[in-house]
């Protein structure tokens, strides 16, 4: 479940990055549809946070330690909403570019999360 979510969040984050990157390329700000996309990715990341904590509570252990694992889970859940919030204030292509960068950061965090959990 956790491994599957890590893959799903990583892939959807890359898709979001490509989508918002394309909007930036076309000189467009983030629009409603982009925010729906961000919401979907964020819900998945939050689900991952919950599942991760449940797994820890059940007695499973992350191979690189609980503190690092939980910090990365929280970072993953915050990356896209934080970038999306910034893009609300910057109604130009640079808002879209920031969300794209946020989604790339999330994808990188997922790769690290995979190592931290399973190593």
């Amino acid at each position: 479940m956790l491994d599957a979510l890590t893959v799903v969040v990583g892939v959807t984050a890359l898709a979001l990055a490509a989508w918002c990157g394309f909007a930036a390329y076309k000189d467009q700000p983030t629009k409603d549809w982009h925010f729906i996309g961000m919401a979907v990715v964020t819900v998945l990341a939050l689900a991952q946070l919950v599942v991760g904590i449940v797994r820890l509570a059940q007695g499973d252990e992350a191979s690189e330690g609980t503190a690092i694992f939980v910090s990365y889970l929280i970072g993953s859940a915050l990356a896209v909403p934080a970038a999306g919030f910034l893009s609300l204030a910057e109604r130009t292509r640079w808002g879209s570019a920031t969300v794209a960068a946020g989604a790339v950061v999330l994808a990188v965090l997922e790769v690290r999360l995979h190592d931290i959990w399973g190593g």
């Binding site: 690092i68 990356a79 970038a83 910034l86 204030a89 910057e90 109604r91 640079w94 920031t98 960068a101």
Partner: protein
């Protein structure tokens, strides 16, 4: 959102256009470097004191640049410019050091191998930052 202004009486706005992307990346690096550094120092400072001190220095530099960019204004712009130069120097010196003498670094820092573990963002960011800060001159 107000346009960046050239009016000397009003603060130079640094978080606008490409500046937003820059602040975002600096913010991410700050969070990453600060949490890494706090964790390293709390858990096993003794095993690699040099690497951990350098991580802490990097964290402070990133946090300070993020703060100056968000704050805006001509003084902050100049302070950020100096810090970006210091950051670039740090990446180059520490990067070269880790390549020449890996044994001095049992644990890696944010700036090890020119920031390879961070997709070379640590070496690209200060260059981009300085270009943007020069252009945003009030």
């Amino acid at each position: 959102m107000a346009e960046p202004t050239t009016d000397a009486n009003r603060p130079t706005k640094l978080v606008a256009g490409p500046g937003l992307l820059l602040v975002w990346l600096y913010g991410v690096m700050s969070v990453g470097a600060v949490s890494r550094s706090v964790y390293q120092i709390l858990t096993d400072f003794g095993s690699a004191p040099l690497a951990h001190v350098l991580s802490a220095v990097a964290a402070v530099v990133y946090a300070f640049i993020t703060y100056t960019l968000v704050r805006g204004g001509e003084t902050a712009r100049k302070a950020a410019l100096v810090c970006c130069a210091a950051e670039l120097a740090g990446v180059l010196i520490v990067g070269t050091w880790t390549v020449l003498d890996p044994s001095a670094f049992p644990d890696s820092t944010v700036w090890s191998e020119y920031g390879m573990g961070y997709v070379f963002i640590p070496v690209l960011l200060p260059v981009t930052g300085m270009l943007w800060l020069r252009r945003a001159r009030g």
